[in-house]
């Protein structure tokens, strides 16, 4: 009984079906253990956590320069900025918008710097219905989170915020436009 103390001598090796299951389960855990390092080396998606210490004001100034250098359009009052192909792109999460709108090229690698000017935000990239695209990263004030990212599909992709950031969180959206 599991509710009574057990006299010494209970320590013995498992046998029969229990032993077999133990072996199978251990084997499965090894498969699970190998998959992550394997994907880290061979796969195309991982979160390396590359980040640098940054003051929100400093980051904001760099984003304003990025906007001045690359602004090609304005939509809904928000500048649309074309990032230099293969170069650095900047994105701010702040209450309650993603700024600016980014214009990227399909198949080109970018260093996307994301940070927050106020609260914690959740960068959540959304494909159109049926595309099955959804990617999520944490965005923290004080952290220049660098995502080395290559868009593999073209079109307009919303960014929503999926980390609660106060009243207004539900209307925090943004946009990334990817051209062929």
């Amino acid at each position: 009984m599991s509710i009574f103390a057990v006299p010494a001598g209970w320590l013995k090796a498992p046998h029969g079906a229990e032993r077999t299951w133990l072996a199978i389960a251990l084997l499965w855990c090894l498969v699970l253990s190998v998959m992550m390092p394997y994907w880290h080396l061979k796969g195309k998606q991982t979160s390396s956590g590359e980040a640098y210490d940054v003051e929100p004001g400093e980051f904001n100034a760099r984003v304003e320069k990025f906007v001045r250098d690359g602004k090609v359009d304005v939509r809904n009052g928000i500048p649309v900025v074309e990032a230099p192909p293969g170069g650095h792109a900047y994105l701010i999460g702040r209450s309650w918008t993603w700024y600016p709108i980014l214009k990227l090229k399909k198949g080109v690698e970018y260093k996307l710097h994301v940070s927050s000017l106020d609260f914690q935000h959740g960068f959540s990239l959304q494909g159109k219905a049926g595309q099955g695209l959804n990617m999520n990263f944490s965005v923290l004030p004080g952290y220049d989170h660098v995502l080395t990212i290559t868009p593999t599909s073209a079109g307009e992709f919303n960014i929503i915020c999926n980390e609660f950031c106060g009243m207004g969180h539900e209307k925090m959206t943004g946009l990334i436009v990817v051209e062929e």
């Binding site: 009984m1 599991s2 509710i3 009574f4 103390a5 057990v6 006299p7 010494a8 209970w10 498992p14 079906a17 229990e18 077999t20 299951w21 133990l22 389960a25 855990c29 090894l30 699970l32 253990s33 998959m35 992550m36 994907w39 880290h40 796969g43 998606q45 991982t46 979160s47 390396s48 956590g49 980040a51 939509r75 809904n76 928000i78 959740g122 159109k128 219905a129 049926g130 099955g132 695209l133 990617m135 999520n136 004030p141 004080g142 952290y143 989170h145 080395t148 593999t152 919303n158 929503i160 915020c161 999926n162 980390e163 609660f164 950031c165 009243m167 969180h169 539900e170 209307k171 959206t173």
Partner: protein, 569 residues
Amino acid sequence: MGILTSDNSRVCDTTGLKVCLQSEMLIKLNAVVAVVCLLIGVLAAFGLALTRWETIGLLDPLMYYRFTTVHGLNMLIFWILFMEMAILYFAGTVLLNNRNASSLLSWGQFGLMLIGMGMVNYSVFTGRADVMMTSYVPLRAEHEFYLGTILFAVGALLGTTNFFANLYVAKRDKTYKGSIPLVVFGALAAAIIAVFTILHGAVALVPTWLWSIGMMEAPDAGWYRLLWWGLGHPSQQINVCAMVAVWYLLGTLTVGAKPLNQAVCRTAFLLYILFINRASEHHLLVDPGLSAEHKMWNTSYALYLAVLASMIHGFTVPASLEVAQRKKGHGGLFGWLAKAPWGDPGFAALFVSLVIFGFGGGITGVTLGTHQINIVAHNTLRIPGHFHMTVAGGTSLAFMGLAYYVVPLIFRKEYSFRGLARIQPYIFGLGISIMAIGMTLAGSLGVPRRHPDIDFTDAAIKADLSAASPFMALVGIGGFIAATGALIFILLTVHAVFLGASNKGRAMTSWQKPEQDKLTRDLMSTNWNPEGAGLKPSGTSVLTLLLLAAFAIYYFANWKALADVWHVS
């Protein structure tokens, strides 16, 4: 000091165990407050279910966020931890034939946790802490929210200390022979994890509280997340340990089950003690500042050894039920299951909890907690989909099953409306399953958690997640059924405690048919070997292989889904 006498204890009329009277009082008080917190959480759950069901959309964003905060805190922290304190008193005294060690620690536990819970609920209800359960800095709540949390944690630490004192005293005074019972060992694992949890909570929240009263700079956001999740996730691992201990307990009470091999069960708990707390990393897998190595090593609990532990319990618990049933003469591959006491809410809760936790919560948890797969899952509805199958469908349901025995045995009151009690675990389990499936499907389309709608009505740039509408309806309908099931449990339990018929001086009225009950009692009073001839757990072997197949399919399907998204590193 640890010896029970007729002055400080009574003999249970059903089990013959000696019950320390002070422990009995503390078990009762903690259980009552737990149920009150459950009620608060359930009422909030109705609001949330009817909001996320797009057709109804009950609450405005402000109220939705507040209800989410109330629901999370009361369900994940208060209901569960008060119940766990009750389990620690039970395991540390009744099962060890021992007297409660310290009145000071015990009353300190109850008092501080009660005050802390009250302060936190007050500040959330009055709109002074619309920060969600996680209270991520630099979002700021009023100071009493943090202070309440700290007092609650200190109370829990006192209760845990008292449990360790009980272990010490019982061993010193030789109130038991050999090794502590398996259920107590499970409670010990829970208590050890609780110490880690509470220490991290203190390190995260004390500076945050000082900041809220203006005595410190705001803590760093990344640092806070690292430390807070040392509280947030392990507090749910306490649940896992307590739940598994309750599975073994209910297995014994409802079918007379005996673990096949105690060494295997205890070693599995040891793996929890050593490795399960690294799962805090599950929340930081897409965070800046932490390396891929830190993420992979910790999220895998070393080499998935805590998953191994769960897979072991997932076998040993049903195997012990099967073998006990076979010993009673219920044979066949699944005949033992067909003849199980399905009308006993203790057994029903045990088995439904086991299935939902294993097939739902376990498989999704390991998959979502895989470093790279988390990119397509972090903070989507898939996460609450997962943990409602572990914490609600798993732990809460197991605790409900426990209550169907705690009330008759400890409160010595009988449940009325027994027909309703018999189906309650199924109603709750069904609701949670429907809701969690809805959440998982909606989350796979990118629908975020903690979000009042999927329309983005007032957003400057329109986003469109309306493809998820049918799944959100499942969330609403399932959530409504689950909350109704939980409410039935609360009403039945409150009625039993205050208005139920007393069973003092006799055994509790069995939940089972007389012939089932007799077989179980007979089995419990005989000394038998669960590894004896002709008792092979072949049905369990089939079920666990089925689990493994489902696991592998879901796991690799998610790698496939990940391979289709943008390249990122």
